[in-house]
């Protein structure tokens, strides 16, 4: 069979503190999400299948989980870093800016489940193709190949959302997040921004860059709740979480 994580070994799945996220406890502990499309890997990630014992009349079934690599996903890095709130849970509507090829998006789609929706925006056409392909297997992902700087261009494709996540690595990232929140984010909704210091200002100290970005978000009606570093998974990255208040 397949080698590596979980193969042959006894693995126990436990729910994580964040609803929709799970931990696989085996030889080593791994962050996992419940696979929406059992039998398929999206980007070659490992899958772990556990059998559910027979309950009464119902036959035994099995559930498949996919390993969520914190070195490849900022949200996974944030969760392992101990972030207090991700604003993404089963049933959530999420606007995901900077979706890239959709590897991380596929895990968010697992977390929100069939009742939730992920509106995934990516401007690069090359990544956009992969994103569209991933979305054909997951109907809770809405692929949007468009510039997140111009949210009004895709206003017919996005509903009101519970959370905006941004990983766009652009100098004007805060402005992009605020523009999208103004159009699509509920009052009281969550904002999660992954900030790469180098992408905003490569000459200033990372801490100064993070502080100035948090300030910009605050001026845009987003009340910052927490900030954490994504070390050891990413260098000079911070994750900022906040609540959209709209009224400043």
């Amino acid at each position: 069979g397949r080698g590596g994580a979980g193969a042959g070994a006894k693995v126990i799945i436990e729910p994580h503190r964040h609803p929709g996220v799970f931990v696989a406890r085996g030889k080593e502990d791994l962050l996992v999400t419940k696979n929406l499309t059992p039998g398929e890997s999206v980007y070659g990630e490992k899958r772990i299948s556990v059998s559910n014992p027979q309950v009464g009349e119902e036959a035994a079934t099995s559930t498949e989980y996919r390993v969520w690599n914190p070195f490849r996903s900022k949200i996974a890095a944030g969760i392992l870093g101990g972030i207090d709130e991700i604003y993404i849970k089963p049933g959530s509507k999420v606007l995901y800016l900077g979706a890239a090829s959709g590897t991380s998006v596929s895990h968010v789609a697992d977390v929100v489940g069939p009742e939730g929706t992920v509106y995934a925006v990516e401007f690069s056409h090359r990544s956009g193709r992969d994103l569209i392909n991933m979305a054909t297997h997951r109907t809770n992902v809405i692929p949007i190949v468009e510039d997140a700087r111009h949210p009004l261009k895709y206003r017919m494709l996005v509903g009101m959302v519970d959370c905006v996540f941004a990983d766009v690595a652009q100098p004007d990232q805060a402005r992009i997040v605020i523009l999208n929140a103004q159009n699509f984010l509920k009052v009281g909704g969550g904002v999660l921004v992954s900030i790469k210091a180098n992408c905003i200002d490569s000459t200033a100290a990372p801490e100064a860059v993070f502080a100035s970005e948090v300030n910009k978000l605050r001026e845009g009606g987003i009340k910052p709740k927490e900030q954490l570093t994504l070390e050891p998974f990413e260098r000079d990255h911070a994750m900022v979480a906040g609540i959209y208040q709209r009224s400043t």
């Binding site: 809405i142 190949v145 261009k153 017919m156 009224s247």
Partner: protein, 176 residues
């Protein structure tokens, strides 16, 4: 400045709403006023659906979103506005709330008697349009639950595929 009508664009079609209760302009940024927009019971009493123009098929929807994203007034939208907005008399001008300013400009060029407010020029319009986005499923009573979500899924795939194929930014389309 008050607003009389609102244009809501969704993946299903265009909807025109009449603003029946003028929202509070001064207290707009207060928590209570913001909360009222989130509450369907309160928001439902502020607007009234006057016309719905569903797109005829996915091909039509794709054409409309391509026009909308460029701020162009399509023939279909023009016809929709003509049937659903009152003919402005000499005394009173009708104010229409539109999401985006380029589209507002295109509308004004064809309907000189209309006055347009956008989400940028008026916070009241911005909040009303946010309310429509949040509650559209319930406010458009002919819809079945999930209608809008399904049409968004289909349209997003077509629109995104179109964007990937017809690209002016050729540098991103490497041929390996």
């Amino acid at each position: 400045m008050s607003v009389d009508y609102l244009l809501h664009e969704s993946a299903l079609g265009y909807a025109i709403f009449k603003v029946v209760a003028q929202p509070d302009t001064i207290g707009n940024r207060l928590k209570e006023v913001q909360a009222a927009t989130q509450d369907l019971d309160k928001f439902g009493k502020m607007v009234d659906l006057v016309g719905l123009a569903p797109f005829e098929g996915t091909e039509a929807a794709l054409q409309e979103i391509n026009s909308i994203s460029e701020g162009i007034l399509s023939d279909f939208l023009k016809a929709t506005l003509e049937t659903n907005l009152p003919k402005a008399g000499k005394k009173k001008t009708v104010t229409l709330g539109v999401t985006e300013k380029n589209l507002a400009g295109s509308i004004r060029a064809v309907f000189p008697q209309l006055s347009c407010e956008t989400a940028e020029t008026s916070e009241v319009v911005a909040d009303l349009l946010r309310g429509l986005r949040q509650h559209n499923q319930k406010l458009i009573k002919k819809l079945q639950p999930g209608d809008i979500d399904r049409s968004i899924l289909g349209l997003a795939h077509r629109y995104s595929r179109g964007n990937v194929k017809f690209s002016v930014h050729k540098n991103d389309n490497h041929i390996i």
